[in-house]
Symmetry: C2
Subunit: 372 residues, 2 copies
């Protein structure tokens, strides 16, 4: 399996990506990894790999790409001037079919825009969505999406997110009927903005989806659903707030132990366990996030990811390749849309066209033109 | 100081509110509390108060209100049929000036609607906002608003939230220049939805406000701002997700200790500290949330609040009374609006009216008519 990596762009520079790639190869020797970035810097990092990881070098190759997409660059700038960057070169390799998946820790907006141009989307999805698995109560996990690719999302997009998240939970986690929920300010049917209300109506009309209704923010971590859908502004805020809270909490737990002499010793003993806990609770940094809806596999590693985080993002990419995610998504999105279409066609009432419009399932309809 | 309490509506029934009221009186003997609800039930709860709390009985009086607003009732229903409820009776007492503040753990939407009708709003605010203090890094706190009263909020409302949150942090926490930030998906100026972009422009034009720009979700807990502003959908999702995460984390920390024999003993010793931590991290349940912008003081106690949570909500109400919050908010909102108006009038360019419109400061303008 061939993975293309944008070795630049993360906060910790190419050291994290090169070590992460080597460590991923040690864990999965079937991987062949191409690293994109300024050749001299990457060669330097390769030569510094510590002994156990150096054994992976034969599975790593370097492709020179001198430019770097900066974190503060706007997507439009990256599209116009990003040709020689490690990100664009990695995606070009993917688009030519020379790699099975790509990974980058760079600028998310630029990665979205360049990926969409290089690979296109499947199943009529106008823009990809970003999703990651969040740890929940009792060792479970929940896919939250969108995490920021679509800051505003009308009902048809929320329905797309639900279908894509459902397919991911089914194929990657082996759930037969993943529970899909919409994030809202209350579980009662009457609450929430119009876009969420309309997506709720549309999802109720899709019998193939195990749609369970609304969930509130605390339901995400309580394990009430396997897929939770919201627009990218909300998803981003929830994910980052959770990251911030988890960091603060682990610090406070440590401080609690260090403040009492009775517990100081055990605080020390507990430190490895607390470290594990912190990693479990820092999903983006450690799991990688999928760009769903692309005609290809692209994983966004956290900007602050260390080698271990990069390793996990690569492993995630390999898992999606093994499950043939984009192909399955494409087929299922088409099928579900037409199923929804005929369900709506059976309905002779006025509400039929309203619901079909709400779900963006009007043949040839443009989802983005559906304004409130 | 006279506090009116809707003793019904919380998940734990009147026991939590009656004990909480008694405990608040023990801590602050200057309080005179009127409890609204079915008289027989409240008398029964009063008679069951344990010995130390029973001493507070002389400061508690019961007002019969046989009806209860249910949690699943729509605000419109509560407005039409809620006349005999404990919530409406409590607010009526407040509106007649027979109490200085009101507290309820009941249905939030109904409380918003009934409060607005009974008390009206100040400073041209069309609808109140809900805010609570969230614990941050290094024992700090941050007011987050709105938490669900306004599921969609255009720029003028976000500016209102900023002004109200700023006034609260200044008066109640004694900060001379509270740092005010807008929640967004990135700190770069170019990101985010139009409403947030326009609110950013408008807040930059208000020199009296120490506006620091955008903050991401993790910035809330990192203590990057004293006031963080967002619409009610996002604020509600962030707050509830944080509540859910905190609960899960504390459980996992406990499980971590109980899994290792070396730490089991210290796990037991640490239990009180973990309990404190859980309370600190469960802001709504333990702090109460303020309905800001009303011409009166109403505190929403968490639906799941126990007696201790109810006690804190009453203490919060008393604090707002001592600082004369609504009067100060009214005066300052008027003053800041006219300051913003003249700042805009000095600006002869086209952008002037755009910014003034964005901030909803057009004399006689209707903030709610500003659609995207």
């Amino acid at each position: 399996m061939r993975i293309a990596i944008d070795a630049m762009g993360g906060d910790l520079g190419p050291r994290a990506s090169v070590s992460g790639a080597a460590s991923a190869v040690m864990a999965d020797p079937g991987l062949e990894i191409r690293l994109f970035g300024p050749a001299a810097r990457l060669e330097d990092e390769m030569s510094r790999l510590p002994r156990p990881l150096a054994a992976a070098s034969s599975h790593l190759s370097i492709e020179n790409a001198p430019g770097v997409v900066r974190q503060d660059q706007r997507p439009a700038q990256a599209l116009r001037h990003g040709g020689d960057t490690s990100m664009a070169a990695m995606l070009g390799c993917l688009a030519r079919g020379e790699a099975d998946a790509g990974v980058s820790a760079g600028n998310t907006g630029a990665l979205m825009a360049l990926s969409r141009r290089a690979l296109g989307t499947v199943g009529g999805v106008p823009r990809p969505a970003i999703s990651t698995a969040i740890p929940t109560h009792r060792e479970g996990r929940c896919y939250l999406l969108d995490l920021g690719a679509n800051v505003e999302a009308e009902a048809p997009r929320l329905v797309d997110f639900a279908l894509m998240g459902e397919a991911m939970a089914r194929h990657l986690d082996g759930l037969s009927r993943p529970r899909v929920a919409l994030l809202n300010v209350g579980v009662e049917g009457t609450k929430g903005p119009a876009s969420v209300q309309r997506a709720d109506e549309a999802l109720r009309r899709l019998p193939a989806v195990n749609y369970t209704g609304f969930v509130e923010g605390d339901g995400i971590f309580a394990g009430e659903a396997d897929v939770v859908v919201c627009d990218g502004f909300v998803g981003n805020a929830v994910l980052k707030a959770s990251e911030g809270l988890a960091k603060m909490l682990v610090r406070r737990v440590q401080a609690t132990f260090e403040a009492h002499w009775t517990s100081r010793l055990v605080g020390l003993l507990a430190r490895p366990a607390l470290g594990r806990l912190r990693r479990e609770l820092d999903p983006v940094r450690y799991n990688g996030a999928s760009l769903l809806g692309l005609d290809g596999i692209v994983i966004k590693s956290h900007g602050g990811a260390d080698a271990r985080g990069f390793h996990f993002a690569i492993a995630r990419a390999a898992e999606e390749v093994r499950h043939g995610l984009p192909g399955r998504l494409a087929a299922e999105l088409e099928q579900r849309r037409s199923a929804a279409d005929s369900a709506v066609a059976d309905d002779r009432l006025d509400s039929g066209s309203r619901i079909r419009a709400a779900a963006g399932m009007e043949p040839g309809g443009d989802a983005t033109s559906q304004q409130e």
